[in-house]
């Protein structure tokens, strides 16, 4: 059989192929030839064939059938064979193939070969792709070689040991003795690889770290020699002596000096020296400076040194080389938390980097800018950042918008500025803002009472310009719904009030409903806004018409709303004003940053927030329930138990007796009439996650108490305060049953003295399972305006073992914190 074609020949041939298909054909032909050659166990040309196979593999063609051949080559005595064999093993094999284990024996033999280049090949292969099994088997050999005086082998053994440790960390101990005098070597290769080995060991084991701390003086000395020594041609790079070694030593020093005062002390001088003496005209010098800065920032360095480091970074920022600028921004980002003031000094340079052409630099600059924003520079910074937001690539807009919102929230100098800023973001990058920014913004707007007129006016004008940005449209429609009356009355103080008629406003909102640009969510907002305006505007008929049209809308959400609103017009018109009143201020759940201080809005009632208001007693309870069911939808707040308290009040007189006149939640609608059913918010605040609309601050130390314990039935009360009104105590009862039989038809009723008001929400169930297997919970809200001592009379009815049980009890042992 003719000799297989030479490697170069093959490469040349393949390169002449003009199409992919032609190439594939050639490759296939050659592969076939190689396969038959392998089958013939041809020793002479095996090396050549495998080399060709490797070339084809690099082009992307499968070469797995050559794996075993590589092993045969490795086992051969010829150096050429071994060289290609090991290369093939590294390219074609890895620990995923079982075949690789067959190498272990060969490698072992070669590690003990008489020729150092063969030993080198073995070490290299083991050090690049050795699996944990191989490493375990061969660690001893590596360790032996680590102690040899042959520096060629010693340096390779060191790196091989690094790989072994990475694969099998438990073997680290084994290499410890051999590290004893590694640093006394003169050979830079050995020094470098030794430092890498020591670094690896220190990173992985705190014990090793402690052990090697004593090397700090030696490392400092080596570094000093490198800097001070004259020109050494062998290791020189652009006038700097062995920068690779310098960088590695600096990195090891960093690890050794971290959180250790003494070590950090010992390296202060050398770090200062490197920082000041290193030539910065070429990349090489800057690479060393960079590593030095990283080390200074990580160890316990004195403040002078830290300032020096940050100034180096500041100088980097001005460097023409964008790589250097990039690296500086990254490092500054890491240090901005700890050395905030020092970094602030370079703020203007950082802001300039926002205009850089490079994407990575821009991103870093943006992150850093946000980190540097504070109360003093907010106005200036925001101007720059908003300008950036205008002109940046889409990939940045979302993050930038979020950042702007956060910063504005924390440091806004005035409400008007805050609202202006948010408006600016919504108009320029509206489609990129996060989903939760809409409810957040709405919350912010409700809190800024005096800005309502201004806000709604600006939003209205924005809507006239552009209705494509959904978040903006949603917020705008919500505001118009809420504050439409302010808009029409032209009451704006902050700027020139515009003249708008009711019809114009309704035109805009209706426009949103029909526009193709509006998403279903936006349409929902618009419809609800129109509905709300029915109590604020006089053109009720027009609104009625619109609402009824959408009663047959294809969109289910819209249809549901329209139908309910229709019902509101028809059957419950008397409730409409109450239901559609102004929203009270919303409490912010702390997602990020501190909760805002809630201002009391003069228009709404401060007492109860978002509580469902039970209908006036005159209203037949059934109808009320229907209505509330209709509006209930899918919200989280439990439906009010309205029937329960009223009936006993009229029927059974016992409850009334002992405490004199009782006032229960059935009182006619007087002062506390906030009256916004929670269903309303669930439409508007679609974007909000299902957070409860009143914030319960965790008990803050009001201890729970046992209110009743008799015949196996135990009732515990736990307390919370309802925010924002500290006059309301929210009590959760937990009823548990320690008898062997369930208590069914369990009903809990409560009454309080006249000076209190009580509201009972619906229970979790009416069966208290036996043997404490579960509890029934029910929430009571007690309004205690006069801060009197809380007393309560409770009535319990249930069926136990077939017979009905009824009991009355008085609860007097409320902890003082619950009513103070």
């Amino acid at each position: 059989m003719p000799a297989p074609i030479r490697l170069r020949e093959l490469i040349r041939t393949i390169r002449t192929a003009r199409t992919q298909a032609e190439e594939r054909e050639m490759i296939q032909k050659e592969c076939a030839a190689i396969r038959s050659s392998f089958r013939e166990e041809d020793n002479t040309y095996r090396c050549r064939n495998v080399a060709k196979l490797l070339y084809m593999h690099m082009l992307g063609y499968p070469a797995h059938f050559g794996q075993l051949e590589c092993l045969k080559l490795i086992a051969s005595q010829k150096f050429t064979d071994k060289r290609i064999g090991y290369l093939g093993a590294m390219l074609l094999l890895d620990e995923r193939q079982d075949v690789h284990l067959l190498m272990t024996n060969c490698i072992k033999n070669d590690l003990n070969h008489s020729t150092q280049y063969v030993q080198g090949l073995a070490l290299c292969t083991l050090g690049c792709m050795g699996s944990s099994e191989m490493c375990r088997d061969l660690a001893g050999e590596v360790e032996k070689l680590l102690k040899t005086s042959n520096s060629y082998l010693r340096k390779k053994a060191a790196l091989c040991a690094v790989h072994v440790i990475r694969k099998v960390p438990e073997l680290m101990e084994m290499f410890l003795p051999a590290t004893k005098n590694l640093l006394s070597e003169k050979n830079h290769g050995v020094l470098h690889t030794s430092v890498v080995l020591l670094t690896e060991m220190c990173e992985r084991s705190p014990d090793m770290l402690a052990h090697f701390r004593k090397l700090v003086p030696q490392l400092v000395r080596i570094l000093k020699n490198l800097i001070m020594s004259g020109y050494s041609p062998e290791h020189d790079v652009s006038g700097i002596s062995d920068p690779f070694l310098q960088v590695r030593i600096l990195r090891l020093l960093r690890i050794l000096g971290k959180s250790d005062d003494d070590s950090s002390e010992a390296m202060n001088d050398i770090l200062a020296q490197v920082a000041t003496n290193t030539e910065t005209s070429k990349n090489v010098g800057n690479a060393i400076l960079y590593e030095t800065v990283l080390t200074i920032m990580d160890i316990k360095s004195e403040s002078g040194l830290r300032v020096l480091a940050i100034n180096i970074l500041g100088r980097f920022l001005l460097n023409n080389d964008k790589n250097i600028r990039y690296v500086a921004l990254t490092s500054l980002l890491k240090t901005v938390q700890t050395d905030h003031n020092a970094v602030q000094r370079h703020r203007s340079t950082i802001v300039d980097c926002l205009k850089d052409l490079d994407v990575s630099i821009k991103r870093r600059a943006m992150e850093l800018s946000f980190a540097l924003v504070n109360g003093n520079n907010i106005r200036g910074m925001m101007k720059e950042l908003l300008y950036f937001l205008d002109s940046c690539d889409p990939e940045f807009k979302a993050d930038c918008a979020s950042g702007v919102f956060l910063a504005a929230e924390k440091y806004a100098p005035s409400k008007r500025w805050h609202i202006d800023t948010i408006m600016r973001v919504l108009t320029t990058a509206g489609s990129y803002v996060r989903d939760d920014s809409v409810p957040n913004l709405i919350q912010l707007i409700t809190n800024s009472v005096e800005m309502h007129a201004y806000t709604v006016q600006r939003l209205y004008k924005a809507l006239l310009d552009d209705i494509s940005q959904q978040p903006l449209v949603q917020v705008a429609s919500w505001c118009i719904g809420e504050y439409g009356d302010l808009l029409v009355s032209g009451q704006c103080e902050e700027e020139e009030p515009i003249q708008v008629t009711e019809d114009e406003v309704l035109d805009v909102l209706e426009g949103l409903l029909v526009s193709n640009l509006s998403t279903p969510v936006t349409r929902g907002y618009a419809l609800t806004a129109i509905m709300k305006l029915s109590t604020r505007f006089s053109s009720v008929n027009r609104i009625k018409k619109v609402v009824s049209i959408y009663g047959s809308s294809i969109d289910v959400e819209l249809q549901q709303r329209a139908v309910e609103y229709n019902a509101l017009f028809k059957k419950y018109d008397h409730m409409r004003p109450a239901l559609l009143e102004r929203m009270p201020i919303m409490e912010k759940t702390a997602t990020n940053g501190p909760t805002e201080i809630v201002q009391t809005n003069g228009e709404t009632e401060p007492s109860v927030v978002e509580a469902k208001h039970p209908p006036p007693v005159t209203q037949p309870a059934n109808q009320a329930n229907d209505l509330l069911d209709l509006l209930g939808g899918n919200d989280v707040v439990p439906v009010i138990q309205t029937t329960m308290p009223t009936k006993p009040a009229s029927a059974g007189g016992e409850l009334l007796d002992l405490l004199g006149d009782l006032s229960l939640s059935g009182a006619p609608a007087p002062a506390p009439a906030p009256s916004v059913p929670t269903s309303q918010p669930s439409f508007l605040l679609d974007g909000l996650s299902s957070q409860p609309l009143f914030n319960d601050i965790a008990a803050a130390g009001i201890p729970p108490m046992t209110a009743y314990s008799k015949n196996g039935l135990k009732i515990d009360f736990t307390f919370e305060r309802a925010n924002p009104n500290p006059n309301i105590a929210v009590i959760t009862i937990h009823a548990s049953n320690s008898t062997e039989a369930d208590m069914t038809d369990f009903v809990f009723q409560a009454a309080v003295p006249k000076t209190f008001q009580l509201q009972l929400l619906s229970p979790s169930s009416n069966v208290v399972p036996a043997l404490n297997q579960g509890t029934v919970t029910q929430v009571i809200r007690v309004l205690n305006l006069q801060k009197q001592q809380l007393r309560m009379r409770i009535k319990l009815t249930y069926t136990h073992k077939g017979s009905p049980v009824q009991d009355l009890a008085e609860v007097n042992n409320f902890p003082p914190q619950s009513w103070q």
Binding site: L7, R8, I11, G60, G120, T193, Y290
Partner: protein, 149 residues
């Protein structure tokens, strides 16, 4: 570490972590697309997955290195440069064709310079001498009748 031609043909690739063949291909393809899309004025570093990529272009070849979070990008540029210098010294004014036709030699040089992703020897002279000696050894041990690959 890999070097790729401007049109996306791979010339050399060295992996220091065990990765499945399919994944390697995918990563290389992705990486190449990203790097080749970079404009000349952009900086030599980019973030890719959870690694940092350092790349530098020499004539028609891009040399890319993937490093970890804590590694020094600037010194990596020097590492790449050192490797190219070694190739240059060995081949005498190296050009892409040299690397194409002598890819196995390029690998030998790389394996003498780096192991497990770390530098073995910081002296150019030392690395080149070792390669030279190994080449000599190879010469000596050819099978009679066969004088080259």
């Amino acid at each position: 570490m890999n070097s790729a031609h401007r049109q996306g043909k791979l010339r050399l690739q060295k992996w220091y972590t065990a990765t499945a063949e399919r994944d390697k291909k995918k990563m290389v393809r992705e990486l190449m697309q990203t790097v080749l899309a970079r404009k000349p004025k952009m900086c030599s570093f980019l973030e890719w997955r959870d690694l940092k990529i350092v790349y530098k272009r020499y004539a028609s070849l891009y040399f890319c290195c993937a490093i970890e979070e804590q590694d020094n990008e600037l010194i990596t540029l020097e590492v790449i440069h050192r490797f190219v210098e070694l190739l240059d010294k060995y081949f005498g004014s190296v050009c892409e064709l040299d690397i194409i036709f002598n890819f196995e030699k390029a690998y030998f040089i790389l394996d003498e310079f780096l192991m497990g992703g770390e530098i073995q020897d910081t002296s150019k002279k030392s690395v080149l001498k070792a390669i030279e000696q190994a080449d000599l050894l190879q010469e000596v041990t050819w099978t009679p009748g066969v004088t080259s690959m």
